[in-house]
Symmetry: C2
């Protein structure tokens, strides 16, 4: 790969030819305008122009996916689809995530020459690694902090997601910590709300965490949701660290990639990256961004953990897409930058089987809300059932079989296994 | 309006009934989970639950817009559409833009119960105004700085958008300043690139700006693109201000609303808000965000100027939508917060007519790249033709008529008026 260029691959749909659409994309995001202006010389285009690297034609369609495209005269009724790779000179913007986005995305989504556009891959030169140090903890560091090896990090989410008083929350955390769980996170709806300020919450939670740790020798990792404005995030982070907290969580789309990178410049504990709002950018198949591309930017900006939905979840996303996201997060980039994929939504012990079968890895964080907390025999049994689900999956023993000698799993199957 | 609640209005498409979809939306973003958990009491739901305020049914469709929705058993083949207003207790998240987004958008776009979702309006309580001071300059402040009243602020864009050396740029700025223009902005592709570092650019540009101001008494407003990571933006801003610069520009989607609000916490000059990448969030009519809702957050976070595309532009957006955006930016919010709408893309003197006819306002910034710089008689004539275009529009004189006694407009029509 040329270390002086950024490669962006798009899924394109166009009423024009793919070749023409590719030219428009390259022109719009480098040297073009609607009418030639003085100074737009060939030498300038050569040095600063984006370059079409590859066009792969796919099946055309008869209906445009997005509104507002303009058909050329004599249009044959077809909307061509293809994968188009364009490269941009790095010196046009430098190794800057915010300015990279203005270049590779920019105005492209609004062009009349396109009836569909999706950014599906990004290949970035090493200069980005020099500028953005990435996750400080990642998979290895999170395992070290939680003392969990050779199996997924198993955890849960504060439930009800909203409305607990600090006292109620403290009781819940005490229960969950005593149940032996590895990890627990705030809900994304719950950061520093007036009804339960973070300062009060941190104090209440850490008391419960430390008390349980003193008793059991195991300190649960608690991801405090510190999502907020830029200065507020710093105050929130410092509050958590001063109280002995060992993880912070942010809603990446709420604070932006720039906000995430800023947090990473001073953070002392792992950053748990939540991707709520992501559906807005990705659910239309011919618009927006593919997560396998976006996760690279999240990792550069410093996410140690990254949410990827779960298999058979309550969300629209296909299992294939979730599997691609899990694999993407851990695949090496610039020789590292692995983030821990966080599998969640409608998860319980039984979802371990499909997850392991599809990914063959235990390097995930597996979160179950109701799937642990609402286990008929309580949170400890819920946690145990999750471990058992993964043991069965890794050993290749059918879950129903394994459950015969593992009552917590048996009870979980009886409760959650009907759906 | 209840000052203790946030009102979010969505365009919804669902294979279920609208009433059911509304319940799922309200539940998911407040107290719900896929299986009931201990502690989820009625009292808690009453205090923290989101509330369905209004459901307005629209025409149903036979094909789902987005993939991945799940039809209920006995589905009649129809996908219901409607406008649904849900209110959220402010104490769930407080007056925080990042946490507001996790609540009103959050996981909603991924729900299987929806085949389309678009956030079309937001009504925020006064508490947001107390937290976010908004534009420091806005329309009035920008007029004061540019000494332009009673007509649009007319300007251009650095062209070619990328690749000029600081010397070439200096020559261009000198020409444009001498031509008398009110405003000029960097291209969004051009912030602080290795080939032309901002520090060098600022020095070169400001020399030309000050020299022209000394000669003519009029100092052009130059929007330096300071888009970058959080700390870098601060350095960039300070660099511009120290050099006597009078405007900074950011790509809002690149720096995030949190990044914009942070910039606004220390900025000393107007913030020119560029909305590149916005198409990703809005081009699918049943997904994402309507600009009339998003612009409220941009204004809260401090954008003094806001890009809205232009009528008859090179982009997909309809003129009706552009007009709605222009009107939205200037409509009062919390008793103020007006931002100057920035009309651009394929603009020239002739687009003044349609713009004024549709909006009846001159409170816009009207930017033309080629439409000024490529005028056959040079930039001064291009600027003159823009003023004449607006004079004709405001006076209600047909452009062709007005052009008979205004040669710059005549020449502009001859060059750009064929398209």
């Amino acid at each position: 790969m040329n270390q002086e260029r950024v490669y962006a691959t798009y899924l394109v749909e166009t009423p024009d030819s793919l070749a023409h659409a590719a030219e428009v994309i390259a022109g719009e995001q480098s040297t073009g305008t609607f009418t030639a202006v003085p100074g737009e010389t060939d030498a300038l285009k050569e040095r600063f122009g984006a370059r079409i690297e590859r066009i792969e034609e796919l099946e055309p369609v008869r209906q445009p996916t997005l509104p507002g495209s303009k058909t050329p005269s004599g249009h044959d009724g077809l909307y061509r689809r293809g994968r188009v790779t364009v490269s941009f000179p790095l010196h046009n913007f430098g190794p800057s995530i915010p300015n990279l986005m203005s270049a590779v995305a920019g105005n492209l989504y609004e062009l009349q020459q396109l009836s569909g556009l999706r950014l599906v891959d990004l290949e970035l030169p090493e200069a980005f690694a020099a500028r953005y140090p990435g996750p400080k903890f990642g998979i290895a560091g999170t395992r070290k902090l939680t003392h969990v090896y050779d199996r997924p990090i198993l955890g849960t989410i504060v439930k009800p997601s909203i409305g607990l008083t600090p006292q109620e929350l403290q009781r819940m955390i005490a229960d969950v910590s005593e149940a032996g769980l590895d990890f627990i996170k705030d809900d994304e709806l719950n950061a520093n709300p007036p009804y339960a300020p973070l300062e009060v919450k941190v104090k209440a939670v850490m008391e419960a965490v430390e008390r349980a740790a003193d008793a059991s020798g195991k300190k649960i990792m608690y991801a405090f949701n510190i999502t907020g404005d830029i200065e507020e995030m710093k105050r929130n982070h410092d509050l958590v660290v001063r109280a002995g907290g060992n993880c912070v969580m942010v809603s990446i789309m709420s604070v932006g990639l720039a906000g995430l990178a800023h947090l990473n410049s001073y953070s002392e504990v792992p950053i748990h990256g939540h991707r709520n709002q992501w559906g807005m950018m990705t659910r239309c198949p011919l618009l927006g961004f593919e997560f396998s591309a976006y996760q690279k930017l999240c990792r550069l900006a410093g996410a140690d953990h990254l949410h990827v939905n779960g298999l058979n979840s309550k969300f629209y996303e296909s299992n294939e897409s979730v599997v691609r996201s899990i694999e993407a997060c851990a695949s090496p980039m610039h020789g590292g930058y692995a983030a821990m994929p966080v599998v969640s939504s409608a998860q319980w012990a039984g979802t371990a089987e499909a997850t392991y079968a599809a990914t063959r890895t235990v390097d995930v964080m597996h979160l179950a809300g109701g799937g642990i907390l609402a286990h008929p025999d309580g949170a400890a049994a819920g946690f145990e059932s999750m471990k058992q689900g993964w043991e069965a999956a890794v050993k290749g023993i059918p879950m129903a079989e394994y459950a015969k000698s593992h009552p917590e799993l048996q009870r979980a199957i009886a409760k959650y296994g009907k759906g």
